[in-house]
């Protein structure tokens, strides 16, 4: 099947939960779903053996200056098939950053979910391991380095930073 065909198949598979579809590049399709439907969407792709789960990107959208909107974390679940990259995208607010685990569908996703949790503060119920993956054991709780609000520990030595984390 050619790229267009693959993309159309993916779009059809995800139709029941799709909020929006984007075609940012010729070989890419972005499908936006609600966090509650993320797992269903992933299941549909996996059952159809459409492609393989390749990466999980987190994006921080900090609150707007005026404070009118809350900050959100967007999670992009990237699936690849040939040259095509499908990204199932979902957004969660800071106040309720919950996305259900996909590990019972894709067991190897545990490493990606651990990274998303520790870097962005997303809560992933059902994930088999909440151990730190990349951050140190003594990394302060509640500090999420890839959120825009984290600006490092400044000139302080690492061991002094815990009480002054962003």
């Amino acid at each position: 099947m050619d790229s267009e065909g693959l993309i159309q198949t993916a779009v059809e598979l995800l139709a029941p939960w799709t909020l929006k579809v984007n075609r940012p590049e010729e070989n890419r399709v972005d499908v936006f779903v609600a966090p509650d439907h993320l797992k269903d969407a992933v299941k549909a792709i996996v059952r159809a053996q459409w492609g393989y789960f390749s990466a999980l990107t987190g994006l921080d959208q900090p609150p707007a200056e005026e404070g009118a909107t809350e900050g959100t974390i967007e999670a992009l679940y990237h699936f690849c098939r040939g040259p095509v990259v499908l990204s199932i995208r979902t957004s969660v607010p800071y106040s309720n950053p919950v996305i259900e685990s996909i590990c019972d569908v894709i067991p190897s996703a545990t490493l990606y979910e651990r990274e998303l949790m520790e870097m962005f503060g997303v809560v992933i119920p059902g994930t088999p391991s909440t151990d730190r993956l990349l951050l140190a054991d003594d990394w302060p709780e509640g500090v999420y380095p890839l959120r825009k609000s984290f600006t490092g520990f400044g000139e302080q030595k690492l061991e002094e930073a815990d009480g002054n984390a962003a």
Partner: protein, 166 residues
């Protein structure tokens, strides 16, 4: 790399080789979070082309038997504790060689949130070998420089002890 017998470099190598046959220093290698570039070049010094072992330097696994700690990397948060522990377990007199720009200043990662940078902020460093990574010849040169000072160091300690017990 071919050396002619009378170059200054060759003279240095000869004198060190003589010394090393009497005092064979044991070294331990520790990666404190490097990209492996330096570690690979250190490993290359053990291979036939460079052959660090002809200077009597033996790379082995236990800190308790090591004279020299060869350390790479910008000391990540998770590896810092380990580095300290290794240094503490080494018997006196002990020496530290920091290989690579990362161990000097953080190198390309200077300012990144999870690193210390300069290894001498964690343990005292006797020799810095800059480079990204330094070539095997540069690493050997740095280690040879250290061996010469090691020789001096031990002679001074011996002379002091003799003076005390005389």
């Amino acid at each position: 790399m071919e050396f002619s017998p009378d170059t200054p470099w060759q003279k240095v190598l000869d004198s060190v080789r003589r010394w090393a046959r009497i005092n064979s220093p044991w070294a331990i290698h520790y990666n404190s979070g490097s990209c492996n570039g330096c570690d690979i070049e250190i490993l290359a010094t053990l291979t036939p082309r460079y052959d660090l072992e002809r200077f009597g330097v033996k790379l082995q696994g236990s800190p308790r038997h090591a004279d020299i700690l060869i350390c790479t990397g910008p000391v990540t948060r998770q590896s810092r504790e380990r580095l300290l522990r290794i240094y503490e377990q080494m018997p006196d007199p002990k020496f530290v060689v920091a290989v690579g720009s990362c161990g000097l200043s953080g190198g390309a990662f200077r300012g990144c949130y999870n690193i210390v940078g300069d290894i001498s902020e964690v343990v005292p460093v006797d020799v810095f070998i800059p480079g990204c990574p330094p070539r095997p010849e540069a690493i050997i040169f740095g280690v040879v420089k250290l061996l010469e000072s090691l020789k001096k160091g031990k002679a001074e300690v011996a002379a002091f002890s003799e003076g005390v017990h005389a």
